[in-house]
Symmetry: C2
Subunit: 162 residues, 2 copies
């Protein structure tokens, strides 16, 4: 289970825009430099984010990108879903082995785990906004663990011996 390059860099570009003051914007070369990626790659990512309505693009001289909504109103689960093309809904069609459809179609013991995992991740991400990612690493960490805290208080399951 891992984050794709598109998710990683796309999110990072958004965070750059979130640091801007009202009315400011960044051009592709600026974004590319600040994230250490190529201008071409930044262009592709911003195109995606623009299509999805997260950023606003202005063409021509004096153009550039800025957030289309307030950073505090953009939740990470929405961002990830766009950058990842909603992978969950295609899961069972993606892992069919050499056959046309998954052998476990109908009744599948691991599907609940996959779905549940995505729920958990989505739930966590839905509680974080871009605005919360602009601080220093330690402050973001503190914010996140405040949210995450509840996950550490799980009572040990009585290991349902099957």
């Amino acid at each position: 289970m891992k984050i794709s390059a598109q998710e990683e860099y796309g999110l990072r570009c958004l965070v750059q825009l979130a640091t801007l003051a009202d009315g400011e914007s960044l051009t592709l070369p600026q974004i590319a430099e600040r994230e250490g990626i190529s201008q071409a790659n930044a262009g592709k990512l911003m195109w995606l984010l623009n299509k999805a309505g997260f950023v606003q693009a202005i063409r021509g001289t004096k153009g550039g990108y800025s957030l289309a909504r307030e950073a505090g109103e953009i939740h990470l689960n929405e961002v990830i879903k766009v950058l990842d093309e909603d992978v969950l809904s295609k899961h069972c069609e993606s892992y069919t082995g050499v056959l046309d459809s998954c052998v476990h179609k109908g009744d599948c013991g691991i599907r609940p785990v996959i779905v549940g995992l995505h729920e958990i991740v989505e739930n966590a991400l839905s509680q974080i906004t871009l605005a919360q990612l602009v601080g220093s690493e330690s402050s973001v960490d503190a914010t996140f663990h405040q949210i995450q805290g509840i996950h550490r208080t799980i009572e040990p399951q009585s290991a349902g011996s099957n």
Copy 2:
């Protein structure tokens, strides 16, 4: 954020072995057929799982694979870590763009999110064993949501207006 093919199929093969009675085993052709994957692919997966100590392989006629430990003692977080090659520890080296090292080295606002996400996932997976995946979809679903239940009781954060 998604599950890789190796994670998906590897886990499924393990679940097949978990359904066996004591002393029984499955050959590669049998595993391949039951999961709808090629024998070659099953072979590679089982080789990985064997190296990692989850399964026991017996060669020659009458050979086959069986679990090396009890299904109730094999937790999904261990399995996923092996099938995924512990991707978290390499995260910051994997997303360096066109540079040699990540521009956010030192202080990074999204690293806590990445790390935290992995903690959450690992935490959930560590509470599930192979034994819990052998039932019907509905029974597995019930088990999982019992575990997951706590994640739904999160109090709304007071959206730290930055």
